[in-house]
């Protein structure tokens, strides 16, 4: 009886695990490489860094390049379109869509690499 129960559970669990894997966000991490902090820590805490240090930057002029939104974009903008928000699998979009968390950052901030933005401006 016990064996039957376990095999049944296994039969149920394996497809569920597969399904979860299939839905997990696949993101374009851009250049990637060594993140400024431990990646697992960043997954959990990036919003706190951005939120607290934005006040320091705007109000006190303390611009911490390492933890700035610009620095995030520099590494994580796609190598194809230089953006963290342009496509469904872009770095910011794919996770935030999966987690259903709306981000307001890019209503004002540019999601593009500065170098790409400058090139585009010169081309105009």
């Amino acid at each position: 009886m016990k064996k039957l129960f376990f095999s049944l559970l296994l039969c149920l669990c394996i497809p569920m695990a597969w399904a979860a894997d299939a839905n997990a966000p696949k993101l374009d991490i851009g250049k990637g490489g060594q993140c400024v902090e431990d990646p697992q820590w960043m997954r959990k805490n990036h919003m706190h860094l951005l939120k607290h240090e934005r006040d320091d930057a705007v109000r006190k002029g303390l611009r911490d390049e390492k933890h700035s939104l610009k620095n995030c974009i520099e590494c994580h903008a796609s190598t194809k379109d230089d953006s963290v928000i342009a496509r469904d699998d872009s770095f910011c979009v794919s996770c935030h869509r999966y987690e259903a968390v709306k981000i307001d950052c890019f209503e004002c901030h540019s999601g593009k690499r500065k170098s790409a933005w400058l090139q585009q401006r010169e081309a105009k």
């Binding site: 934005r54 911490d64 390049e65 004002c108 901030h109």
Partner: protein, 238 residues
């Protein structure tokens, strides 16, 4: 009695020393953590001196440089943002005409900061008056309070902003004195673009700076000096 005083004094000395030792590593850690940036300093007061005698009638270089740097459309309709604009003034009694740029005057006592209900309108330690758009609710009280009509409201959604100059719908904005450039050690875009060197940028508090020397040697005025706002932008030949 003197014995007690001595011990008390030595006790205070040692405890002050101990406190200094305890605080010093904290300060060091702060500097290390923040990459040695000190942020805006209150020893500095950024300002500009605009020589209206050098400002050419019909020249719009400072305005277009500002538009390009900050990603403004350059349109002048009622709903378009203008951070700096050229104005022509005429003394009707004798016909003397002048052309000059007008923008946020970066007041020491800014009325826009006084009226802001969310503390979004603020003055940085180095005298630059800014809108913290993270807090701005778009009520536009500051626009009404400003005697210089220096602020604009963003009416339409924007795309493709300069990565250094975030701007967005529903917030008020104005000349930032190109704060992103100043923090990199550069001059504001308008000052750099002026072919006649009519816009002199510098630290008003530094007695050796070019701007402070000129303010000592020539007659300059603040626009609406009667309001006692002590503007950071000064005009010569007005």
């Amino acid at each position: 009695m003197s014995d007690i005083d001595l011990t008390r004094r030595s006790f205070l000395k040692t405890s002050a020393g101990a406190a200094a030792v305890a605080i010093a590593p904290g300060m060091m850690l702060f500097q290390v953590a923040h990459g040695d940036t000190q942020g805006a300093s209150d020893k500095v007061r950024w300002g500009m001196l605009i020589d209206t005698t050098q400002c050419k009638d019909g020249c719009n270089d400072c305005v277009s440089a500002c538009n390009k740097e900050n990603g403004l459309s350059g349109e002048t309709k009622a709903t378009d943002s203008q951070w700096i604009r050229k104005i022509e003034i005429k003394d009707v009694s004798n016909g003397r005409e002048l052309s000059l740029p007008m923008m946020c005057q970066h007041c020491e006592h800014p009325p826009c900061v006084d009226v802001c209900p969310t503390n979004a309108s603020m003055k940085r330690a180095d005298g630059i008056v800014l809108v913290d758009k993270h807090r701005c609710i778009g009520c536009r009280y500051c626009m009404m309070a400003c005697p210089y009509k220096a602020r604009s409201f963003v009416h339409e959604p924007l795309t493709d902003q300069n990565p250094d100059v975030p701007r967005g719908k529903g917030t008020v904005e104005a000349c930032t004195l190109c704060v992103h450039r100043i923090d990199q050690g550069l001059k504001p875009a308008c000052s750099e673009a002026c072919a006649n060197k009519a816009i002199l940028f510098g630290d008003l508090n530094d007695a050796d700076s070019e701007i402070a020397k000129k303010l000592r040697s020539v007659a300059t005025t603040q626009v609406r000096a009667d309001l006692g706002l002590n503007t950071g932008i000064r005009y010569q030949g007005l």
